[in-house]
Symmetry: C2
Subunit: 203 residues, 2 copies
Amino acid sequence: MPQPSSLTKGERTRQTIIDAAHTLIVEQGYAGTSMRQISERAGLALGGIYNHFPNKEAIFVEVIISKHPFHQVLPLLQAAPGDTVEEFVRNAAKRMIAELGRRPDFIKLIFVELVEFEGRDLPRMFQVIFPQVLPLVQRFQSHEGELRPIDPFILFRAFLGLFISYYMTELLLAGIPAALKPENSFDSFVEIFLHGVIAAKDN
Amino acid sequence: MPQPSSLTKGERTRQTIIDAAHTLIVEQGYAGTSMRQISERAGLALGGIYNHFPNKEAIFVEVIISKHPFHQVLPLLQAAPGDTVEEFVRNAAKRMIAELGRRPDFIKLIFVELVEFEGRDLPRMFQVIFPQVLPLVQRFQSHEGELRPIDPFILFRAFLGLFISYYMTELLLAGIPAALKPENSFDSFVEIFLHGVIAAKDN
DNA sequence: TGAAAAAAAACGAACGTTCGTTACTATTGT
DNA sequence: ACAATAGTAACGAACGTTCGTTTTTTTTCA
């Protein structure tokens, strides 16, 4: 019975494999995940996988490319509303952290990439991701007058680093006594970044 | 009679194993490193390792505890000179990035920890590391008057995040066309952080 | 001190298991 | 129909670990 789907069966199975591999690689890393685990989670026989991918590494290259956090986060950031740079930064940061919170495995995929694919596919990843970053940099550039004279690409790096590390430490602190964790960390991070980049008002 | 000043043979071998495992785990991750690789690099027969460690995981727990970057970085930061907060931040950041540059494997060990030991030994790690962080937070606290009213622990998180991510992106950008990389990134990062945290001078 | 006894450490083969991959056959989708 | 997709079984290699044994280091006691 042909399902009312524009996708062919093979394409759907291929996506199932990618999804299964994705959740496994996030939980266990690349070397820690076996083809048998993938086939099991995908509801497929071991041999069947090789109709869709030539080998294990090809699966994970596809996982990292298609599931890369930047695909979801960057457009979200770029579309953040805000006429002033302050509004823009606040909204962009809020969006990013909300998205990271919704998908906690985003960050871990980057780590797996760094740990197990460094020097192999990392340059390729960046060729895919980097062009998407540029429009966001321009978004900073458009507020040039309101900002300190800092290279907009550095602005972007600082922005990303600050809020990714906010999210990371927030994760780490999950196992720490709550008494030590201050409230409103998020707002403080926004404050630090805003004051760090906004030009002093001369009036 | 055991010499109190010199290490016993077993202790020396144990350290050799830890060192070998450390370099391998940084290069390949935990699951990607085999006991045979460790034994080979340590110049030891495969079976000999088990005179010093009960199993593979015990080795890596020891690696992560004894080689954790914070052991080296935190004291360095705490001892950073500077009477004003500006001098302190600048020197501390400089020291940290210099140390990270000298030992590029520091960061990767944290990634391996996060990817492959998450939820297992991470709480224990933090029990070891966290007490070392507190004196550094106090270092920020001592400059309270010069700073915006931000929780000092958040200050510390922002500081670490900003400069670790400076270092990370600097690494990533190694594969990117040099034309896109602005000069003096480091100083810009320091500027952003300083302006972000220093109270506005009222004069 | 120095030989004997004990303990620790190193060895290398072998264990059972799991790994990624392949070959081949059966089934399915279009 | 026939290509695409699924399943089954098997391959050799590598995995972590254990084994009995030998070698080296440390301790004991004259």
